[in-house]
């Protein structure tokens, strides 16, 4: 298989405009003859569904939650980047492009990233027109802040809930189309298989989570916008229901999976408190603008924070990275927290945490100012931990937050399956090996509002309007397979719960394929995952039937897919003999413990092909060509 990224010819800045002119258009009168399925209603899905319906296509949108407004985009706190240069501080489309490529450690496609930076400005306009209440200055114009170590203030924000406000904007646009009848909404419905007819994606099979009904839906194209797969680690900042099932089953039907091992670990999360822990809560990394990260200098120092004198504290980020200090990128901050804990200098009862201290900031700016800036985050922290961060330092620890990997897509966001698209976090395209803060929301909305509406038309215009009935044998076969999988799960009647398996998988992934990886550990993890998967299919305990709301059955299906995906992530991590971004291989580091890239051999996208159960996946490489930026070693010293 040759991976054709379909990047348009011409200078970087003109590629997208040129491409928009070159794509084929669907006649307005014909748009109503095309049906499009959108799976997932977060930023990428809701924006795509609404926009495609506005254009005149018939859209069917699916989400597993009870309302499209609950998709996990809603939990994003910090903000959304856009190259508006409203602050006159030297930002530009090119600078946002450059920062994103560099932040991604040179493992993203130039053309995609440039387009992302270009349309970023349209996103803000669109959201404001929808009534999204971004933060404003007293003069009534939009406010910006610097975020995640960026040297310019290009982040638009809505208090600590930018994700919710942007999603409500997209949700309102979606609602308008639902009211018009152009979008048919299917909440509490989970996609369980992709249906292909004549080599093209023509529909999906779903299970209704309340009635258990297994149903087919046919369309001319299918868009997956199902988010990230961070829950493969069991504990992550993802929602409890976030899963890989839709993209994994598409992968099994032929869509290549790119860079699965690129996982972002976010440094400022509330630490795990016990084995019952069900998820991790992230706090916006804006906290690092004023908070100072430290651990005791001495190993095994069990004194409470306030009894450790200043000269016995190690502000390790400030010490190691004098110019960026506490504002180093996420991967660097996370890895250093892990290092400190590995050395036995962690704090709290679990020793898996570092301090984030606001005492100096409060002394400098006053309690009130700090409370204005971070009040809601401090409240959240004290609600969860029962501690008061105004009086004692917060304890933080890194947690799995975002997955840069995902289905491989070309410039048009089409996967290797014709007619199957992937948008937002579930594709691999824009963030390389590490995503910059406030860029996830940007990518989700860019894909949904401004990219897919153009590129999908190009595909549809070249395909006939004839519909495929769901009585087609391909649908019947897929339905039968889904039913068989469900039956198989229900018939095991073992002794271990689904969560038990999920936690076991999470431990393997976190220990061997988490913040730091090495070949030996990865080899071991691969064996362990296989063993665990065998045991799962032998010994998982699921009660009840398919024809009801059966939470355990739902979870089992998702965990079964995680158990397969986990192995592929390990495989990918093992293959990539370099350190880059969120992928840190202990064997490949500089003498100062920084990530050591191998541009000579690994400047490619690793796209994996599924070859069957327990079969070795096949690696396909898409070479990355950097024509505009020079590859340099990231340095935040």
């Amino acid at each position: 298989m040759i991976l054709d990224s379909k990047i348009p010819e011409g200078p970087l800045a003109e590629k997208w405009d040129k491409h928009k002119f070159n794509v084929k258009l669907v006649n307005p009168a014909n748009k109503r003859k095309y049906d499009i399925i959108v799976v997932g209603t977060g930023l990428a899905g809701a924006s795509a569904a609404a926009t495609l319906a506005e254009l005149g296509y018939n859209v069917k949108a699916f989400c597993y939650q009870d309302s499209p407004r609950r998709a996990h985009s809603i939990a994003a706190q910090g903000g959304i980047n856009a190259a508006k240069n409203y602050q006159n501080d030297g930002d530009s489309v090119y600078r946002l492009f450059y920062d994103t490529i560099k932040g991604g450690d040179y493992r993203a496609r130039e053309a995609n990233v440039y387009r992302l930076a270009q349309v970023s400005v349209n996103i803000i306009d669109q959201c404001v027109a929808q009534g999204v209440p971004f933060a404003r200055e007293y003069g009534g114009l939009l406010a910006n802040r610097s975020f995640g170590g960026a040297q310019v203030s290009r982040t638009f924000y809505a208090r600590g809930q930018t994700g919710q406000q942007l999603l409500l904007g997209a949700y309102s646009a979606l609602n308008r189309q639902i009211a018009y009848g152009k979008v048919k909404m299917y909440p509490r419905t989970e996609m369980l298989d992709l249906v292909m007819v004549d080599g093209k994606a023509r529909g999906i099979v779903t299970r209704h989570l309340i009635t258990g009904k297994i149903e087919s839906h046919s369309a001319h194209a299918v868009i997956l916008a199902t988010g990230g797969y961070g829950n493969v680690f069991f504990l992550s900042t993802n929602a409890m229901g976030s899963n890989t099932t839709a993209i994994w089953r598409a992968h099994k039907k032929g869509a290549l999976f790119a860079n699965p091992c690129f996982t972002q670990i976010h440094p400022t999360c509330i630490p795990v408190s016990g084995g019952y822990q069900s998820k991790l809560t992230l706090m916006s990394e804006s906290l690092r603008n004023d908070g100072r990260v430290w651990v005791p200098k001495a190993v095994g120092d069990n004194r409470p924070a306030d009894q450790i004198p200043e000269d016995e504290r190690d502000y390790f980020l400030e010490r190691k990275y004098p110019s960026f200090g506490n504002l180093v990128p996420r991967d660097v901050a996370s890895r250093n927290a892990k290092l400190a804990c590995d050395e036995g200098r962690g704090v709290g009862t679990t020793k898996l945490a570092v301090y984030l201290d606001f005492a100096d900031a409060i002394k400098r700016e006053g309690l009130e100012k700090i409370s204005q800036k971070y009040g809601n985050l401090f409240d959240m922290y004290s609600k969860i931990t029962g501690e008061n961060p105004y009086e004692q330092p917060m304890r933080i620890y890194p947690a799995v937050h975002y997955t840069m990997g995902g289905l491989w897509v070309d410039y048009n966001l089409m996967t290797t399956v014709p007619g199957l698209y992937a948008t937002g976090e579930c594709n691999f395209s824009d963030h390389g090996a590490n995503r910059l803060g406030a860029s996830a929301l940007m990518q989700g909305l860019a894909d949904g509002y401004f990219v897919i509406p153009y590129t999908i038309g190009d595909y549809l215009a070249q395909n006939p309007t004839a519909r495929v009935e769901t009585s087609h044998p391909a649908f019947k076969e897929a339905e039968a397979n889904v039913q068989a999988d469900v039956n198989r799960l229900l018939s095991i009647n073992g002794t271990r719960t689904v969560d038990d398996f999920h936690k076991a998988l999470g431990h393997i992934m976190w220990d061997y394929c988490g913040m730091a990886r090495n070949a030996e550990g990865l080899q071991f993890a691969k064996q362990e995952i296989r063993k665990l998967r065998d045991e799962f299919w032998r010994d998982v305990k699921i009660l009840g039937t398919n024809e009801e709301l059966n939470v355990t059955l739902e979870k089992a299906g998702r965990v079964a897919d995680f158990l397969e995906l986990g192995e592929l992530m390990v495989e990918d991590a093992l293959n990539r003999n370099e350190s880059c971004g969120g992928h840190f291989r202990e064997e490949y580091q500089t003498p100062e413990n920084e990530a050591l890239r191998d541009d000579e051999n690994y400047t490619y996208v690793a796209a994996w092909e599924y070859t069957g159960p327990n079969q070795q996946p096949v690696l396909h490489k898409e070479e990355l060509k950097f024509e505009n930026v020079k590859l340099t070693q990231r340095s935040y010293k």
């Binding site: 506005e54 208090r159 809560t281 038990d500």
Partner: protein
């Protein structure tokens, strides 16, 4: 293993949980004993522990809605000891922690109760009526593309902040659950007043409020009698003022709009 307080002792609790097979079946409160609950657990983690326990005993686990578990998606619900989202103010059930309870407590857990929120199973209810109210007009009719530059619409910060306060609604339905009348006025008013305050919302201002109120009534929610339980139990603190604003908007629109 406690995260911050090594002295916090595990608790034993009695749970009375509403069990209902499906929307048609009759339900009842079942009593379960649960042991060794850490005060550091969230309420839903306590429910997870209960469910693992039930599952291993061969009893169908308790179904309850939840997703983000960080207080923003609005999917979690639960009427805990007579209160929507439990005893702590300004907190969703997923952010409620067991340190708010004491060893030996009995905790009664029921689903949201309202005709427009039928129970689907156990503690899960169907809140799609709220979506339909939004679909009736909770939007500004702009298509993607062709909109003015974001800074061409200046908005005074005070107005923007007030609109923001209204926009923080997470659509959990606690207002309906807590209201003696099962009224969805606080929910509806949050969206109406957010958009009525913003310049972008002016064009459809009258039609929006008329349509959203009509849908709210059609869904069978009760009428507001200004009791104020809704705002008191709202996990994100949506203010009762929004209801006054909705009243004003609705009365004004009814008498002045061109819709006859």
């Amino acid at each position: 293993m406690a995260g911050n307080n090594p002295n916090s002792k595990p608790m034993n609790l009695t749970l009375k949980v509403w069990r209902q097979k499906n929307s048609k079946a009759a339900g009842n409160l079942e009593t379960y004993q649960i042991k060794d609950i850490s005060p550091e657990m969230s309420f839903l983690e306590m429910m997870d522990v209960l469910n693992e326990d039930l599952l291993l005993k061969g009893i169908d686990p308790v179904a309850f809605d939840h997703d983000c578990r960080e207080g923003i998606c609005g999917m979690c619900s639960l009427y805990i000891n007579g209160r929507a989202h439990g005893p702590e103010r300004g907190t969703t059930t997923c952010q409620l922690h067991m340190r708010k309870f004491s060893d030996g407590d009995t905790i009664t857990i029921e689903p949201w109760r309202a005709g427009p929120f039928p129970v689907l199973k156990d503690l899960c209810t169907d809140r799609s009526a709220l979506d339909r109210i939004q679909q009736a007009g909770g939007y500004i009719s702009v298509n993607t593309g062709g909109v003015p530059d974001a800074n061409e619409i200046p908005i005074p910060k005070t107005i923007a902040d007030k609109a923001f306060d209204a926009a923080t609604c997470i659509q959990c339905g606690a207002c309906v659950a807590a209201c003696k009348n099962g009224s969805a006025m606080l929910f509806t008013s949050a969206k109406v007043s957010q958009l009525a305050m913003l310049p972008q919302g002016q064009v459809e201002r009258k039609t929006r409020v008329e349509n959203m109120v009509a849908q709210m009534d059609k869904e069978g929610f009760g009428a507001c009698t200004n009791i104020g339980s809704c705002a008191a139990e709202c996990p994100v603190g949506i203010s009762l003022e929004n209801i006054a604003m909705l009243n004003r908007e609705y009365i004004g629109a009814s008498f002045t709009s061109e819709n006859v």
